[in-house]
């Protein structure tokens, strides 16, 4: 049996606004194995983004613990690369290639030459070879997200954390990006923790889906996804009923 990669045990998360202390999640547990495409799915207010931030190390759990390969997560680090929803996650003062290369060099992971080679490899993979010397402000939203994905993958992290990365894209681009992500996964079998509020996207992308109910976020169900076209509809209805019944 394979070892667990990421283990989330009884995690309660709280954050403060100026007036209130809000409980984002209440004693949430789940485990991710290597190669999983693990989805956190739920309506807004279910704490899925907070959970992702906690795994990213930006938010410390009030109770429970999160471990990566048995080691407790205490802060952000390059072994958990984040892909954000926002288009401004690329550094505007760096070209596409420089954006991908920067974390490779900043963490001292690779030499200059190796870093550029790796960057080129992943930029090719996401199909941005032609735009490799462009600055981010000249790219479309979909291209920016591709760069962010290339940047995350080039680091070859233990786990890739994606926070609704396609939510701000138009429906057509979104569909293409989902297919591309799956193709990339077929190539490299990376582990990804993916947050979405779209049932359809969850079923398309994930192999395992954690359903969360809102206020505060609690586990509602953990399901296997399907790629059997005849079962997708039934699964979609089932998830819909679980979330909104």
């Amino acid at each position: 049996m394979t070892e667990k990669l990421l283990d989330v045990r009884g995690v309660t998360l709280q954050y403060r606004t100026t007036e209130h202390v809000v409980t984002a999640t209440h004693r949430v547990s789940f485990s991710i194995y290597p190669g999983d495409r693990f989805i956190l799915l739920g309506p807004s207010g279910c704490g899925k983004s907070s959970l992702l931030k906690a795994v990213g190390g930006y938010l410390a759990p009030l109770e429970g613990e999160i471990t990566l390969k048995g080691k407790r997560i205490t802060g952000p680090g390059p072994d958990r690369m984040m892909v954000f929803q926002e288009f401004d996650q690329l550094l505007p003062w760096k070209t596409v290639t420089e954006n991908v290369v920067f974390p490779l060099l900043a963490t001292g992971k690779l030499s200059r030459k190796e870093a550029f080679e790796k960057a080129r490899h992943y930029i090719d993979k996401v199909g941005l070879t032609r735009a490799k010397d462009s600055y981010p402000h000249t790219l479309s939203g979909g291209m920016k997200q591709r760069v962010a994905i290339a940047r995350g993958m080039a680091m070859e992290p233990e786990i890739l954390l994606m926070d609704e990365p396609f939510a701000a894209l138009d429906a057509l681009t979104r569909r293409t990006m989902q297919d591309e992500l799956l193709r990339l996964w077929d190539d490299t079998k990376f582990t990804v923790l993916f947050v979405t509020h779209s049932i359809n996207e969850a079923i398309r992308i994930g192999n395992r889906i954690l359903l969360l109910s809102p206020h505060p976020g609690q586990v509602r169900a953990e399901l296997n996804s399907t790629d059997d076209v005849s079962h997708i509809g039934a699964l979609e209805t089932q998830i819909h009923d679980l979330l909104f019944a």
Binding site: P76, R80, D88, Y135
Partner: protein, 292 residues
């Protein structure tokens, strides 16, 4: 199929067209020469300057009082003479050198203060208190005190210069740091950068538009302060700057030379703004799409 609208008449006349672009179609057409010329910013600005000079000349000729208001051509003559005999370049260099020292020190100190302010809460309070106390204080008001402390010379000038640059620069830099988006901050932390390289490699470039504004305003403040300070005491170790040049010529009633001195101040300011800062902008914020 339910996709068909039951309320509309049936439309079976579907058709497809493959667009063919005309052989001689006008896809791309060069911009006319005059329009291209008019698009050059420097040319438009030169025209404005030429118009102002013409106005000056007209008024100078009209008032016919070379003591109070010399004409543009008189000023240019004095300017040329003073360049040729080497006085003006030497004076200008003295001023610029002092200015650069004070400016660099001011920016350096401002950077230290703003970095402290963004990384620690007490640093933040410190900067906020100091800027609200000292920013409204005119640098020149500190000059008597500076003279007392540092004597007549370079030390006093640099002290007032640093004061004039520091607060406005720190204020802008700090505001720039605060304006960096949350996403970009998280990206920086995601890379696991150290505190210092996080500031230098993420915060500084991301806040660069504000930093540049601070540098521009600081530069102007520094110039004003320096010329004013030189007018007050001018000579430092036997060699005065542009302010002193102006003061000296006023005493000798060489009014065209006074104008020539002022003209040099303006020229240096124009050159700094339109060459140095412009180049920096082109290479940075414009290229990165942070400013259009």
């Amino acid at each position: 199929m339910t996709a068909i609208n039951p309320f509309a008449p049936p439309r079976d006349d579907q058709f497809f067209v493959v667009p063919v672009f005309g052989e001689n179609a006008d896809v791309e057409r060069p911009i006319p020469f005059w329009e291209k010329l008019w698009n050059k910013g420097w040319l438009r600005k030169c025209l404005i300057i030429a118009a102002l000079a013409a106005l000056w000349q007209a008024y100078g000729v009209f008032s016919d009082n070379s003591l109070l208001f010399p004409t543009f051509t008189d000023t240019m003559e004095a300017f040329r003479d003073n360049i040729v005999n080497g006085v003006l370049p030497a004076r200008a260099w003295t001023s610029v050198r002092v200015l650069l020292i004070g400016y660099a020190l001011g920016i350096g100190l401002a950077t230290v203060l703003s970095v402290l302010a963004i990384t620690t809460r007490i640093g933040n309070d410190f900067l906020e208190t100091l800027t609200s106390m000292f920013n409204p204080l005119p640098a020149i008001a500190l000059l008597p005190l500076a003279l007392l402390w540092f004597g007549l010379g370079l030390g006093s000038l640099i002290f007032v210069l640093v004061h004039s640059v520091l607060w406005v620069m720190a204020l802008n830099m700090h505001a720039g740091f605060l304006g960096v988006s949350q996403t970009m901050r998280m990206v920086g932390r995601n890379y696991g950068l150290s505190k210092l390289s996080y500031v230098m490699k993420i915060l500084v470039p991301a806040a660069f538009p504000s930093i540049l504004t601070g540098m521009k305003v600081g530069w102007a403040f520094a110039w004003r302060t320096l010329i004013a300070a030189e007018l007050v005491f001018g000579v430092s170790s036997g060699q005065g700057g542009l302010g002193w040049f102006i003061f000296e010529n006023k005493n000798q009633l060489e009014i065209p030379s006074v104008f020539a001195g002022l003209f040099s101040v303006i020229l240096i300011g124009l050159a700094m703004e339109n060459i140095v800062f412009r180049k920096i902008e082109e290479k940075t914020v414009r290229r990165w799409g942070m400013q259009h």
